[in-house]
Symmetry: C2
Subunit: 332 residues, 2 copies
Amino acid sequence: MSDTRYDVVGIGNAIVDILGRCDDAFLAEHGAPKGHMRLVDDATISKLYGAMGPAVEISGGSAANTMVGVSSFGGRAAFIGKVADDEFGRIFAHDIKAAEVAFASKPVTGKAPTSRSLILVTPDGERTMNTFLGISTDLDQGEIDPATIRASAIVYLEGYLFDRDDAKAAFREAVKIAKSAGRKVALSLSDSFCVDRHRAEFIDLIRGGVDILFANESEITSLYETADFEVAAANAAQDTRLAALTRSAKGSVILAEGLRLEIPVEPVETLVDTTGAGDLYAAGFLYGISAGLGLETAGRLGSLAAAEVISHMGARPNTPLESLARARQLVN
Amino acid sequence: MSDTRYDVVGIGNAIVDILGRCDDAFLAEHGAPKGHMRLVDDATISKLYGAMGPAVEISGGSAANTMVGVSSFGGRAAFIGKVADDEFGRIFAHDIKAAEVAFASKPVTGKAPTSRSLILVTPDGERTMNTFLGISTDLDQGEIDPATIRASAIVYLEGYLFDRDDAKAAFREAVKIAKSAGRKVALSLSDSFCVDRHRAEFIDLIRGGVDILFANESEITSLYETADFEVAAANAAQDTRLAALTRSAKGSVILAEGLRLEIPVEPVETLVDTTGAGDLYAAGFLYGISAGLGLETAGRLGSLAAAEVISHMGARPNTPLESLARARQLVN
């Protein structure tokens, strides 16, 4: 779109991931719900860090990962999120800028530290997240630059930010600005526990202004309080114009005004770490949509990006997604 | 050895690695000598970090990596090195303790930050290091706990520490304590530029008290100021009782009182990142020696550990070395 500066602007928690391996017994011992994200306090994260094995530190954050993915496909991406003036903040800012994602937020001094997530990867590749929300949830309306929102074809919102009222208000502000500028709004539900905490407000937001909804199976069934994926999918199709629902190994389902597309997964040689799978699916899908490649190609780009990111540790691509997409002849 | 608490204690720089990829042109543009370590100041590291691509942070430090390797083989290891009371210091301390290496050094407050090394990995897997020496070179004699030295069968010294006088004095103190307790002293030459800066003192130290010398081809030829590996090897055989000289793809040569063993490399499927290859070779060799497995097995354990670490990003093993060694029937 020629009148935009960015294809997508993401708004979310700016997080550095601390990634290590553990077994299922370790998760049980520490009360970490496998496959989910839980919010932990300072004491809990310290205890967990002391008990876990050696780790690596890699920039993360759900919407931030998605923006890095969009950029890796060759899309123009921006990110809005808050970091502190500390080492982790510098790491986050460096990595997102180095991935050619516009990031203008000023680091905050003297308040909470930069947010971090202890991510425990079990031998089956599943990730379990223990997030210490530092400064990133201090995101408020002041952080939402109207010019950036208006200059972006799609505004992508991370559901995790719903856990704080100020951030929720910032979200609504971003939606309002985007809508009045004729831009699209996309939302990721992020986590089924998060959905559970904010169900009614999510449904309001989706009915009120979300153009593209991303959710995995457990999130969408949690949203509509049903055990049946098809029931949840039918509800989603009614509430939003376009939904991309991921189902792990079963691929994804795209619902768009009466249309239903089933997109297979991209095979991976070895599943190493599922961290970022959903984020990168969204990256491929959003890039495909913004490049006008059609729903099926957008879904396949999502599968491709997800496959890349689960074949190694960390939630951001190691290989330029644009070249992978070209090799698969999904883009020119 | 039943009268020891540790098989090996390592003394070296406590460093967190910031690892990213670049091409050869980037190295040339920034004046970074490919395949070597250079010391950089605050301004240079900031400029380089700003210019390089996305990175991951992983604990490193040459002797520290070696101690983690010894522990991964099932050996009893300790590490002496200095960190600051900051995020990188906490990362370093966590990771080395999580690897079951004893680490008692107290973090230093209000002085220099924890040391870090920007490691640039080129497409050929070669690593080029740009090290900002923060607090780690403040290591002085006060840091050398005599009880730990006396309780260790081997004291392993990292040549990099020779770049600071206080650390050099701490080295000599450690050698004195080890010798008077009847312990062995091992030394790694670390880097050919480092050797060049301190040639005479290295030779003095080697002749005066080093029992096991580790060097790669460029370090040993630099030490004896010859282009001929065989000439350098002959000199090393005269100056020390036991030398393990690594030659990259050509394997390693072990020289021990008239004996010469050629150890082949362990094949790797894909060379990803050579960071830590020498450190992990030393780990396997030291473990083999301390476990009384003989020189040939020690050398093969070195090759095995080096092969593991160059098959992924980062200078510490991803797979328990003990299980790899068992699969190769190198240990029981």
